[in-house]
């Protein structure tokens, strides 16, 4: 029931966000039509960081309580976070080309996101190379905790490294009300989408685990 509500809400809001981004919001004067990617780029970044924070807390709770439920939540959140941060890097690149003239710059936020991308890819590589469900969960939790603790330090060091460059201003004055409204709708929509995906995916992981347990018992009984 809860998931159905989340699904309905996120569907409606995502549809609404299409309308707002593509039709409702006025085109930005300096950057033109490509600026509209901003309304998806920012929520993608936000959800990625939220997802990794959930991985972090889920991992701590898993290590403390050792209930597979929390590992399911943490690993599901890591999957979603990885998808969102990849999309964020891609939309960022698409936007950067016309706005700054290059596909990539070593700007602090971009670089931090890239490092994070690698850390959470490593999260899945480690899980993939480990045998045993319980050990998978434990090792994943360790990477989830260490990786997230690193975020502020990565950001700080990259910022210091790039201070010689002028700060990049995306908008000199604040956001116009219609733009702000569009951004907010997108943010809320993506939040619902995230929680919907999270509950759906961790449910699936629960079922997968139960199924493999049943299979094991059956195999033992038949042997």
């Amino acid at each position: 029931m809860k998931r159905k509500i989340l699904f309905a809400l996120s569907s409606v809001l995502i549809l609404l966000s299409f309308y707002m981004v593509l039709v409702f919001v006025p085109t930005e004067i300096d950057m033109g039509i490509v600026q509209r990617i901003f309304y998806y780029h920012v929520p993608l970044a936000w959800i990625a960081f939220l997802a990794f924070f959930v991985v972090f807390t889920g991992s701590i709770i898993y290590l403390a309580k050792r209930s597979t439920k929390w590992d399911n939540i943490a690993s599901a959140s890591a999957e979603i976070g990885l998808v969102f941060i990849s999309l964020m890097l891609i939309t960022g690149s698409i936007w950067a080309k016309p706005a700054w003239g290059v596909w990539w710059i070593w700007e602090p936020r971009l670089t931090t996101s890239l490092v994070l991308w690698f850390i959470y890819v490593a999260y899945f590589i480690v899980r993939g190379y480990v045998s045993g469900e319980e050990r998978k969960a434990r090792f994943g939790a360790v990477v989830g905790i260490i990786g997230f603790l690193n975020v502020p330090l990565v950001f700080l060091s990259v910022t210091l490294w790039r201070t010689q460059h002028p700060p990049l201003t995306i908008f000199s004055g604040g956001l116009e009300p219609p733009m702000l409204a569009t951004l907010l709708v997108c943010l809320v929509a993506f939040n619902f989408l995230y929680f919907y995906l999270l509950s759906e995916r961790s449910m699936m992981k629960n079922d997968e685990r139960m199924l493999s347990q049943i299979k094991e018992t059956m195999a033992r009984r038949n042997a």
């Binding site: 690698f118 490593a122 190379y129 990565v154 700080l156 060091s157 210091l160």
Partner: protein
């Protein structure tokens, strides 16, 4: 207090093993010199180029050699099932971490002390000053803190040698950035004040990850 004593016992065991076998040190030093020479081929050896790329080459070399010796530190234990011995010994898991950490710090610094003179000889740059020593020691503490944790994890996966760098490099990004920039500023003849912010970044990394790894290590080698 007992924990520290235990840790030193483990570290001195590792040092003794190394003195008897001379397995790691000799090959890692040869490897380090090879890396430096390859970089020399890649970037040319003019004085101008050397000044520009030397700090980067130095730290890439240290990161690579660090990976090698970190990997060995647990593979040796695993090969003869010595890790089982460590686990049934009347030691806390934290003492095992600290012992391995001290051992790794010792080996990496020893390798650096051998590599730095060779490096300054080949690149014709004087590397002997107090600031650089301080940067090297602080950065090595950072390398070894997460490195020891990840090495213990990597040795329990199917692709041992592959997993460590994938985990290690993204996480030590702040240390690499700070160490390279601080070294460049030192070689540039800048004052201590200029590198203080970089030392701060490395110091913060050291504190956070020594504490975090110390607390989390027991979850990796249980069972």
């Amino acid at each position: 207090m007992k924990e520290l004593r235990d840790a030193f016992t483990i570290a001195s065991k590792d040092v003794l093993t190394e003195i008897r076998t001379r397995e790691v040190l000799s090959s890692v030093v040869i490897f380090a010199v090879l890396v430096i020479i390859i970089f020399n081929f890649a970037f040319g050896s003019s004085e101008q180029a050397a000044g520009l790329v030397a700090p980067g080459i130095l730290w890439v070399t240290f990161a690579f050699t660090g990976i090698l010796s970190l990997n060995r530190s647990f593979i040796l234990e695993k090969e003869e099932d010595c890790i089982e011995g460590l686990m049934v010994a009347p030691l806390s898991r934290e003492a095992v971490y600290l012992g391995k950490f001290f051992g790794n710090v010792f080996f990496i610094i020893l390798i650096q002390l051998i590599v730095i003179p060779i490096f300054s000889l080949l690149f014709n740059i004087s590397f002997f000053n107090l600031e650089l020593l301080l940067i090297t020691i602080l950065a090595t503490l950072g390398f070894a803190s997460v490195g020891t944790l990840f090495a213990a994890m990597a040795v329990n996966t199917r692709a041992r040698e592959l997993v460590l760098p994938i985990l290690f490099f993204p996480v030590i990004t702040p240390v690499i950035i700070a160490a390279v920039n601080a070294s460049a500023q030192v070689l540039d003849g800048q004052s201590f004040g200029a590198i203080a912010q970089w030392l701060g970044v490395i110091g913060a990394f050291d504190v956070i990850f020594i504490v975090a790894s110390y607390l989390i290590f027991s979850f990796i080698i249980e069972e």
